[in-house]
Symmetry: C2
Subunit: 281 residues, 2 copies
């Protein structure tokens, strides 16, 4: 497995692969890899000749006061894990390599980004779409892989790909969970033992929502209220949002019908966790 830091070196390798007609699978990450990331790498491995993983903690998707500086980094461990999962090349550029002095171009998806996480993290998705557009142009992948855990991110990026006519296939893989149901996330590392135990309540609240909806509850308000109670009762946390939205528009629904996303963002101390499930009525 190669590790490449320079854009020029990456371009050279990608052009070679493209000329040889090899298919390229790409998994963009911010590193500190866990089983969620690795499931994406394995999917890319199964479906492509060559697998690229990018590891880049993207400063422009963090707001002021967010955890950019503290975000966990361990490139050596990441290399080992990515290689084992079938990665052929890690691209881990510096910030200056991606955003040289005078950098000025941004990609923005409207509408889908002003709800859920977007309304609580202004500029976040603009940073995500910009860096991913750059990475897609650099890696020139045939297929790209994202996790369902970051549901809004996946929908926003898929919209960008369609709107900008990018020539690639977009694959979303299921959320990978710990034994107690907590969605895998690099940020789980921040949790102290009590928070870690209590964080299991997030998935429990999603399961409760699913149960209620399967039992015939169609009032979004009732389901959200029950989730709220469960999370507040079972943890010392602060709810940022608990929401049920249409899976296409991400607009909140009053009555649950068709495919909906049940999504939440909850803070345990300074640690912000998100999770979601798709329900269908």
């Amino acid at each position: 497995m190669q590790v490449v830091e320079k854009i020029q070196d990456l371009k050279h390798i990608i052009n070679q692969l493209r000329q040889e007609g090899q298919s390229i699978g790409f998994v963009p990450t911010m590193g500190f890899l866990h089983e969620g990331h690795l499931s994406l790498v394995r999917a890319a491995r199964r479906e492509n000749d060559f697998v690229v993983v990018s590891i880049f903690v993207n400063p422009i998707q963090f707001g002021a006061g967010e955890d950019y500086e503290d975000y966990p980094r361990d490139l050596e461990r990441d290399q080992h894990l990515a290689s084992q999962a079938g990665c052929d090349l890690i691209f881990s550029p510096t910030v200056t390599e991606m955003y040289p002095a005078g950098y000025a171009t941004y990609v923005e998806v409207e509408q889908l980004t002003d709800t859920l996480c977007g309304s609580h993290r202004p500029g976040h998705f603009r940073g995500v779409t910009t860096v991913v557009a750059k990475l897609f142009n650099l890696v020139m992948p045939h297929r790209v892989y994202f996790g369902q855990k970051d549901a809004q991110q996946a929908l926003v990026l898929n919209k960008m790909v369609l709107d900008l006519n990018m020539d690639l296939q977009f694959q979303i893989q299921p959320t990978v969970r710990e034994e107690d149901g907590l969605a895998m996330s690099s940020r789980n590392k921040y949790l102290d033992p009590k928070q870690r135990r209590e964080a299991a309540v997030l998935f429990k609240s999603l399961q409760e929502a699913e149960k209620m909806i399967q039992s015939g509850e169609i009032k979004a308000g009732s389901v959200k209220h029950a989730m709220d109670e469960l999370i507040r009762g079972g943890s010392d946390s602060e709810i940022e949002y608990v929401e049920i939205v249409d899976i296409q528009s991400l607009r909140p629904v009053e009555t649950i019908q068709g495919q909906c996303l049940v999504a939440l963002a909850v803070r345990f101390g300074k640690t912000r966790l998100i999770d979601n499930i798709i329900v269908e009525v």
Copy 2:
């Protein structure tokens, strides 16, 4: 020469060309082709195996009250001229093909776009960068061709290409002029005979600027004042801007040094004309 309206058909042809290893030259236009466009097509013809010209009057780069509806269109004539100049394929999509219902993604270059034409046409360059990003993704060109007449547009698009790591070569070709010096433009068609005669003063004012600077004048204010007087004296027109800016940053300079762009936008009735020259001290 083929004429293609559907994205799916274009993609099919481009993928074929790419697989065969053919180089693609691309000239994006809004149609109503003149010698300026055709010089770009000929340059593309010389340097590439396959030449694509797009003809699309892009609604999102026109502001409210601008000439989107009235913009001259003549696809039949354009086909004839493009074919003669060496074009292999015209891509002329409908508005719905480019911006289907629910379209929501925009590409924006900051800084370079808030001066000159950008400050007088809010949203204009955002519309240009968005449509051109889409067209680049669709046509997958090796080389793209733009005219010096739209200097700011060329600089903004080149910045987008560099910032977003698009894998293509950016070529800027000299402005093509009528015999009396008026820069070729599809909008010249709007001018009545008196306006058309008077419009020659624009290039005369640029030549006067060049002469003054070559003679040692380095105060931008003096040069702009002389240009202003010449244009007002020689025509019944309204100056939008007459400006001397740094060629890199497009920021106005007080003292002319290094490479500068002398640029102007002037209205003859409802017709807005632009022109520029590069000077070097």
